[in-house]
Symmetry: C2
Subunit: 423 residues, 2 copies
């Protein structure tokens, strides 16, 4: 297999929501209370909802910036590569990176919608639904087959979550983004079935995947006050193990055999170590008399999991100890961990170094994701039309120049002026 | 290489301190205030110091018990296999398990002496010194070459720590047990050189290894209130990554090039994943402008580390990505994770499954530990006298029968009565 023969489905990217996203999805009587984009005193755009403001962290929109300009400061739309928020430019950037299909996590709402769920009231619920309608009916539907939709939930209310899971599932959405560690967000933990039981049941019943994106549960790690920012970025994946522990050793996986969990951007290197330790604990600490229905904990984990990674070269060498049928690649566009526009070359390099067969590569780059989400992004297209080579052939005019934030702002201003003059 | 040709140095075992340990090491005027063994209302022995009592958790003394009898309840000396606390029986058990040399971590003081350091006063300091004198001059000295001594520190006071490091080093002790995450124990974090700087300097200067045993920093993980005990046992090794992060990305490793750190009982599977992530972070997040002196973070980590494991079959397959020169095996006798009396067979099975060469096996089972601690346990003995085969030949009479706690109590009572009748 050559680089141009790869088929790439990225199971974790991000959308920076465009400013007009709510206008067509909120009932008229609530529209003036919907989140809206305002310009801050510092001149950056931020979303405002119920008096709270949430900007876009520049680390979350760095694609095409020089690494020296990345950071934790806010970034406005004007400075971003338009592929961050514009669906048509996104498709062009996906083509250039050889990616046929993508699942996009939210930006300003937070991965489990904490910024929409404020107040736990009707207004919050309406905005979560509006977000999902925009995401499914506009963003993901604009280019059929190119996006696997992902919905948000009103996490505070089990009955509303169940209703929303069934509603979005009926609209064709196979996935929801959920908290890694709800007890860190002031919700009952995943051990508490009085809150999560009906949710797990609705997920299992509809075949909807719960996606646990890293970064949510970092508050579970009591860090030194003098720890540097590096700790947050490097240790974020440690939290995935804590979440796996609650879901595997609590009631979730064992009581709901059809429950499906994606470990989004969690990396995969922690998995064989964690599963060895689980199996050793289970077989060694027999005084605890745990029951995994005749299976090992590692088998139960694999029955329920899709393990997602951007880059993890050593772990790919022990892919059969992880489970080559549960590993899925992701791109993370336009975040700082993203690989753009040369993802295919890096994927192939890591696969080659790990000695992966063509079968293993196909499983990891698209087949496992399509099976797990029960989703056929190609919809009858011949596979030779969805390869890296075929997509890049359509994207020869995509400009991949690295530009400073200032240069991006000037370029985007010129484009806006041109569009205004032309209209 | 055959099982009987293995040479085993276990770099993590545990001593349950015998009741008379302080009598010969505390100055007369303080002796009545030394920790002493009392019998609790429930009939178990516990150490009492400054009004606080600390028993031995039965999980920490399970060797030769049926797994159904393990647990979190207290265990008295009467129920234990005598090798837990009796040096002569310990040597017999080591011979039976083919282990030539052993480093023993403390039990009732806690791994960083929290139960001796109570009050941060002269009395605490005297007892820490007495503990070290007993450990070095009695326990480890009883069978020359069979034990690598390990000292405790008065962690609250940098000047006292420095004095104790120099004192025990001059007595020939190459290692101290220290907190994994001092900020969890109410001490300044390892980022704070005003507290730890002189300590790191004394360690580096004397070539003393700081050993960070798992289990100390578990409080750094904010667990759900309804989490089961399994979380504590399985997730304990997650804390090692947090400690590595503070020591690698804080000033310790980079400011003290000769500082040596042993990751005791941490397992090794987390290391290649963590180091890949560190190197990716360093090369990718260039806006942070971190300086590792021209090296990668992974190289700096390996320069300072000994990575210790009891069993970790998948990780051994990627031993060269971890660093085959920094991996060391350990037995963990008499804890519940210990492998006794068949450690040699399990070690060889994991090595064979991982395709390890004889050279790799020797590095991991003894050479790396001996080099890192700058310690020659064999002291001129020919290597064929320290192999599993040679040691087991001396131990054919060691009884390996699994007995219930009640049966052990009866057996030990009979022995005590026999000894009394014979004296």
């Amino acid at each position: 297999m050559k680089v141009e023969d790869l088929i790439l489905v990225s199971i974790d990217d991000h959308v920076v929501e465009p400013p007009d996203m709510f206008t067509r999805h909120v009932p008229a009587k609530w529209l003036d209370q919907a989140p809206k984009v305002v310009t801050t005193e510092e001149g950056f755009q931020a979303w405002e909802f119920k008096g709270n403001r949430t900007g876009t962290l520049s680390l979350n929109a760095v694609v095409s910036w020089p690494p020296e300009e990345w950071g934790l400061d806010p970034a406005g739309y004007a400075e971003m590569r338009p592929g961050a928020y514009d669906i048509h430019e996104r498709i062009r950037d996906m083509n250039r990176n050889g990616i046929f299909a993508s699942m996009c996590f939210p930006t300003f709402p937070g991965f489990s919608a904490g910024n929409l769920n404020r107040g736990h009231d009707d207004l919050a619920y309406i905005m979560v639904q509006a977000y999902n309608d925009w995401h499914i009916d506009e963003w993901a539907a604009a280019y059929p087959g190119r996006f696997i939709p992902l919905a948000l939930l009103p996490t505070w209310d089990p009955a509303l979550m169940v209703a929303e899971i069934r509603r979005v599932s009926a609209k064709g959405c196979p996935a929801v983004s959920m908290p890694e560690l709800p007890h860190i967000e002031g919700l009952p933990s995943y051990h508490d079935l009085s809150h999560w039981g009906p949710v797990f049941e609705a997920l299992a019943d509809t075949g909807t995947v719960m996606c646990l994106h890293i970064g949510q549960g970092f508050g579970a790690l009591k860090q030194p006050q003098d720890a540097p920012i590096d700790n947050f970025i490097i240790l974020a994946t440690q939290v995935s193990t804590l979440a796996a522990q609650d879901l595997l050793w609590g009631p979730a996986m064992r009581n709901y055999p059809a429950l499906k969990i994606a470990w989004s951007e969690a990396g995969i290197g922690w998995i064989p170590f964690y599963l060895s330790r689980c199996d050793r604990h289970y077989t060694n600490q027999r005084w605890l008399r745990r029951d995994f229905g005749g299976k090992l904990p590692s088998e139960v984990f694999r029955d329920h999991s899709l393990a997602c990674y951007v880059t993890d070269p050593v772990a790919l060498k022990v892919r059969h100890d992880i489970g080559v049928d549960i590993i899925a690649w992701e791109c993370d566009y336009p975040h700082s961990d993203s690989i753009w526009p040369d993802a295919p070359e890096q994927v192939m390099r890591e696969m080659t170094d790990a000695g992966a067969s063509d079968d293993d590569i196909n499983k990891i780059t698209w087949q496992n994701s399509c099976r797990f989400f029960d989703w056929d992004p190609f919809r009858g297209l011949p596979l030779d039309q969805v390869t890296v080579g075929a997509l890049r052939a359509k994207a020869s005019d995509v400009d991949t120049t690295v530009r400073s934030r200032k240069e991006w702002a000037a370029l985007n201003a010129a484009r806006t002026a041109g569009a205004a003059a032309g209209s």
